[in-house]
């Protein structure tokens, strides 16, 4: 459609200019196009708009009695014509050029023989469709930040005299390493793929990016190492900790004061006076990893704290990386809660850095298939879990050329392409309206009874960093077992979540009409905020109960493979062919591309 909407900050669809017949109609019409909502109604179950008709009435062309495909009802005299005879009707009667498609509620100009667009008519469609839908979601669900936060212009910062003095006094410069000259370095720049490309050769002499440091495996802890590597290089999280926003010394002092003031009735003081704070251990890790020392780091302190926090997972067995990720975010959230500040809702991200970075909002619409009433709920989320298509890829229709000779060979009609799917397909499936089965009837407030419903998900607010979790396991209720899905998933390095936003999904639901008057003006609808860049991929190899996690990190436009203590520079194609389990994307405006000065990463 209108691909030049990038210039339009409100992302509204720009209408093509009206044809002269439409202009003439608009200036002449008595009642106006907007009042046509009385002639429209929604057709259950999906609520498509159509022209009102008596039940059982079959609209037919006035000239040829054809009841089939596209029928147009003249706006001036209500005569129905098929696409063949509509131009005759228009030619015979001036002023009768504009008609409406009876099944699709789209305007048509019979003289120009083409579809035309009008905002008043689109408004009529929306009015007709939304008469049964609740007007707006209660704003209190999103906490006290219902207002759009003000956007400030980006202004680059440079220190002034007193600030420069402070920087000079209170910091020690980190030494820049020349290539891999350091003998204790475990980072190799050997290209692990078969064909050495020129780009990798060129960067083998460039200084390695900061923060690249192996993590020792402490006993089946690759699930932890892989997620930690991704988090260590999550732009906002890294900046937060490196700018000392959570200082572990200060935090420990504060909590020690708190426990000595309170009575020691808390069972957790078995740690001997030190409070568990995952953020403190993370802070220590950031300092160690970004110190410039390239020897592999052992996150033992962090592991110990995490065991104390998640005692049910405190063992040397293999665990799920995603489970660890969620657990860790919860751990950071718990400790950051300040009892003196008013509790803020998780989706606003005001509670802790974990939610500030990862928290987004999902919108779920449940529509009754009988009456069309839709109820909407907003839920905060820290990641998006996507199903993989358990069948072997979407069925392609390429095999149908066998139809010509009339033979239906079994192989042709199967039409299944083995094992590829893409992230976009998973997202499309995620936001597709899903018919809930007859055994899952939900209560409809309008019908006051349980009815079969349609559920549709969409993304209301994109988090600053989006984590996609690919559900690579399927349960077979028949065989009563679960297995891992090894199917290859293609994922892009740059992703536009625009079509999966609530605003886009709503607009599509109304047939791409101009107005989406649902009171839903999320600031995520700004074009720039829906473009994301990939920066980390956590991959898994192996079976459901035993396998190995790796992380691929994108720094300075180069890819590095982090396999516990071993870090290697790899090519893009290696990353693309890996089996993605968790994908980390950051909003493009926050993404640091390689700058000319490779020292600053």
């Amino acid at each position: 459609m209108s691909s030049d909407s990038a210039a339009d900050p409100a992302r509204a669809l720009r209408l093509p200019p009206p044809c002269p017949h439409l202009v003439a109609y608009r200036s002449g019409a008595g009642a106006g196009l907007r009042s046509l909502y009385r002639c429209l109604r929604r057709r259950p179950p999906l609520g498509r708009p159509e022209v009102r008709r008596d039940p059982g009435e079959v609209p037919r062309c006035g000239s040829c009695r054809d009841g089939g495909a596209r029928l147009y009802a003249c706006l001036a005299c209500a005569v129905v014509s098929c696409s063949l005879h509509a131009p005759d009707h228009a030619a015979a009667r001036p002023g009768h050029e504009i008609a409406v498609d009876v099944d699709r509620a789209e305007l048509f100009c019979a003289a120009c023989r083409d579809q035309v667009y009008d905002p008043d008519f689109d408004a009529a469609v929306v009015i007709a469709l939304t008469s049964l839908i609740t007007p707006r979601a209660p704003p209190t669900q999103l906490g006290n930040r219902a207002k759009r936060p003000r956007r400030v212009e980006y202004r680059p910062w440079a220190p002034d005299e007193p600030e420069r003095a402070v920087i000079g006094q209170r910091s020690s410069p980190l030494l820049v390493q020349e290539g891999n000259a350091s003998s204790s370095s475990t980072i190799t720049t050997v290209n692990s793929t078969a064909n050495a490309t020129t780009t990798s050769c060129a960067t083998s002499s460039a200084p390695l990016p900061w923060g690249l440091r192996g993590l020792n495996n402490l006993g089946n802890t690759c699930f932890m190492n892989s997620v930690l590597q991704a988090l260590l290089h999550t732009p906002l999280l890294r900046n937060y900790f490196l700018s000392d926003r959570h200082n572990h010394i200060v935090c420990q002092q504060k909590s020690r004061k708190k426990t000595s003031a309170k009575e020691r009735s808390n069972g957790r003081d078995a740690t001997g006076g030190l409070q568990i704070c995952l953020a403190c251990d993370l802070d220590a890790m950031y300092s160690a990893v970004f110190s410039g020392d390239r020897k592999p780091y052992s996150p033992a302190r962090f592991l110990y704290s995490w065991w104390l926090y998640a005692s049910n997972l405190a063992n040397y067995q293999q665990h799920d990386a995603h489970e660890f990720f969620i657990c860790m975010l919860d751990g950071i959230h718990e400790k950051e809660q300040d009892p003196f500040k008013p509790p803020s809702h998780v989706s606003s991200g005001e509670c802790c850095i974990a939610h500030r970075v990862f928290s987004g909002t999902l919108r779920s619409d449940v529509t009754c298939t009988i009456c069309g009433f839709t109820s909407t709920t907003y839920d905060p989320c820290v990641d998006i879990s996507l199903d993989m298509d358990s069948k072997e890829g979407p069925q392609k229709t390429n095999g149908s050329k066998h139809q010509i000779n009339g033979n239906e060979t079994k192989s042709a009609s199967m039409n299944q392409k083995p094992g590829t799917s893409t992230l976009m397909e998973c997202l499309e499936r995620f936001t597709r309206p899903e018919k809930l089965g007859a055994d899952q009837k939900l209560f409809c407030q309008h019908c006051q009874v349980r009815q079969e419903s349609l559920k549709q998900m969409s993304i209301r607010k994109i988090p600053l960093v989006t984590c996609f979790h690919i559900k690579r396991f399927e349960h077979s209720s028949m065989r009563k077992m679960s297995r891992k899905v090894d199917q290859y998933l293609h994922f892009p390095f740059s992703l536009d979540l625009g079509p999966y936003l609530s605003s886009s999904i709503l607009r599509a639901r109304y047939g791409n009409r101009v107005l989406v008057s649902d009171g839903d003006d999320s600031d995520a609808s700004l074009e720039s905020l829906s473009n994301l860049e990939l920066f980390a991929v956590v991959t898994h190899n192996g079976k459901l109960d035993a396998g190995h996690y790796l992380t691929y990190l994108r720094l300075n436009s180069q890819w590095y493979r982090c396999d516990d203590a071993w870090i290697t520079h790899v090519s893009e194609s290696m990353v693309r062919s890996s089996q993605a389990y968790m994908l980390f994307y950051v909003q493009k405006i926050l993404y640091y591309k390689a700058s000319g000065n490779a020292i600053i990463s």
Binding site: R70, Q395, Q403
Partner: protein, 114 residues
């Protein structure tokens, strides 16, 4: 300008004797009356989206519009271009399923008119 002036004369009921309706038309009316046609349409839509047919057609339309130039394309053009391709590429499984549904509908509804 009064709307009644432009309205054509209401069709005379004598002009459409029932016995002129073909079997196909009778079945169509029965399908619509019982609401089955609506269900079949939705089922067909679902299946065609699932198997990627709709996306293929969309891609064809886009390619055609790009080739002809965005402002030189009309709905009629597009329909003319993609209808044959569209009809040919509907998967057999979808056709079979819908035929089955129609068949079972026909056996379940008494057709006194026939």
């Amino acid at each position: 300008m009064r709307a009644s002036i432009n309205r054509p004369p209401t069709p005379n009921p004598d002009e459409e004797p029932e016995k002129e309706l073909s079997v196909q038309e009778i079945i169509n009316i029965k399908l619509i009356e019982s609401g089955e046609k609506e269900k079949l349409m939705e089922l067909l839509r679902e299946r065609l989206i699932e198997c990627g047919w709709r996306d293929e057609m969309k891609a064809l339309c886009r390619a055609y519009a790009r080739k002809k130039g965005r402002n030189n394309v009309t709905v009629d053009d597009l329909v003319q271009v993609i209808t044959p391709k569209g009809r040919a590429t509907v998967p057999d499984s979808v056709k079979a399923e819908l035929l089955q549904r129609i068949r079972s509908f026909l056996t379940s509804v008494p057709l006194e008119a026939l």
